[in-house]
């Protein structure tokens, strides 16, 4: 299969959007996961529900809510525009924002599971060895939750690659700017005789996701080094 340069541009855009989405949301997701795993605080369940919201609402609604908040007419959008001249709607950063929001719940859940599985006694050991609680977090909890970080990043990346509803609503469908793979597929589906293009783009999606998967499995295995598992 030969990929045309137009398709190639779509792929690169999709990768950039997904990559930025994951990169930006990763630390936020991890911080949320840590809070939910390790702290008990009032409003915890509300935060938890809020994080899950993009999962349970139809993507189009999430996109609409983003539009209301981050559009130029929205509170945050107007503020961003006035103070920094930043516009998120209708360009690729908006697509990345939409993807990040949709990916967040998946990332948080996977990471939280891994953080909860870290043996707290190891944190205690690090403390007696002279590590502040922050340092103990960095050297014990964080590295031991790498499987969850990897799984979360993988899920988030895949979800970002597949994101459609929130993106088309919030960031629009502009070729070269916000037309990611799913939007291109949608455009193809809307066009009489567009089935061939749809098939090609779907195959590209599949190959990309497979690549991301292999990469993430490989990274995890490398991070865990030769650590054996014994019966």
């Amino acid at each position: 299969m030969i990929v045309t340069s137009a398709e190639w541009a779509i792929v690169m855009l999709s990768l950039r959007v997904s990559f930025v989405a994951v990169l930006v949301s990763l630390p936020i997701a991890y911080a949320l996961a840590w809070l939910l795993a390790r702290r008990r605080f009032p409003g915890m369940i509300v935060l938890d529900a809020l994080v899950h919201l993009p999962l349970v609402l139809p993507p189009v609604v999430t996109g609409w809510l983003l539009l209301i908040a981050f559009g130029r007419g929205g509170e945050i959008g107007a503020w961003l525009y006035e103070n920094f001249g930043i516009t998120l709607v209708f360009n690729w950063t908006g697509a990345a924002l939409a993807a990040a929001v949709m990916a967040l719940p998946l990332m948080v859940r996977a990471m939280r599971l891994s953080i909860e599985a870290v043996d707290r006694r190891l944190v205690g050991a690090a403390r007696t060895l002279g590590a502040s609680s922050w340092k103990a977090f960095l050297t014990v909890t964080l590295p031991l939750s790498i499987p969850g970080i990897a799984a979360g990043a993988m899920l988030g990346f895949a979800r970002s690659l597949g994101e459609f509803g929130a993106t088309i609503t919030f960031a629009a469908n502009i070729a070269g700017e916000t037309r990611t793979l799913p939007l291109a597929i949608y455009t193809g589906l809307q066009t009489p005789g567009g089935e061939d293009a749809v098939t090609r783009l779907a195959i590209i999606s599949i190959i990309l996701s497979l690549g991301a998967l292999v990469l993430s499995e490989w990274l995890v295995r490398r991070a865990q080094g030769g650590r054996a598992h014994v019966l």
Partner: protein
């Protein structure tokens, strides 16, 4: 005074009170299984907050419920060899030792790394992952890590329990040497009367 401890801790439902007042260089803490020895060490190290009382080691107040003093564990500078080892599973043995050494940087070491490695005979284990070690190997590495943290005092929870006689003898000699050469207070939990008699100048019996 080496150890001046008078605390009540509550690791579970039951309250446990411990009172240790010792100016021996090496104090042994003995008592039946489950009586609360490990809990007392945890309290001294700062991992278990007593519900009341006070702790001071080598004249430094580490905890005082009434005065609201509670030094965080990393500032207590305990060299704690845990009963359950607690090696970091994501670091090889050498990196477990590095961890202690790096955080101890700028403080006065009590023993050189080469010497610890030789005396505890863990040279061959340095490249290994903790979960591939045998029971006794795990304990030896845990003790090495505690010794390398440049501690102000040592807490050794049954350090000799899993060791074969030859290695136990070597470790006992090392403990004796540290005891006689250094000014740092040591507390030893042991079930072996023989070891206690040999190493400790003061024995505190719990329960």
């Amino acid at each position: 005074m080496s150890f001046e401890v008078e605390i009540t801790v509550q690791p579970g439902e039951r309250e446990i009170s411990g009172r240790i007042s010792s100016d021996a260089r090496l104090t042994a803490l003995v008592g039946a299984s489950g009586i609360g020895k490990t809990s007392v060490l945890n309290a001294i190290a700062g991992l278990l907050r007593p519900i009341s009382g006070s702790i001071s080691v080598a004249g430094r107040v580490l905890f005082d419920a009434e005065r609201g003093i509670d030094i965080p564990p990393e500032k207590r500078h305990a060299g704690y060899a845990f009963q359950d080892a607690r090696l970091f599973p994501h670091r090889r043995v050498a990196a477990n030792l590095d961890y202690a050494e790096k955080l101890a940087k700028g403080r006065k070491p009590i023993i050189a790394r080469a010497e610890v490695v030789r005396l505890l005979d863990i040279d061959g284990l340095l490249v290994r992952w903790p979960d591939t070690l045998s029971g006794g190997e795990v304990r030896r590495v845990a003790i090495a890590r505690a010794l390398l943290s440049a501690p102000d005092f040592l807490l050794l929870d049954e350090p000799l329990a899993a060791l074969d006689p030859e290695r136990a003898e070597r470790l006992s000699t090392l403990i004796e040497r540290l005891r006689d050469r250094l000014e740092i207070p040591m507390m030893l939990v042991s079930h072996s009367e023989r070891d206690v008699a040999r190493l400790a100048s003061k024995t505190v019996r719990m329960g």
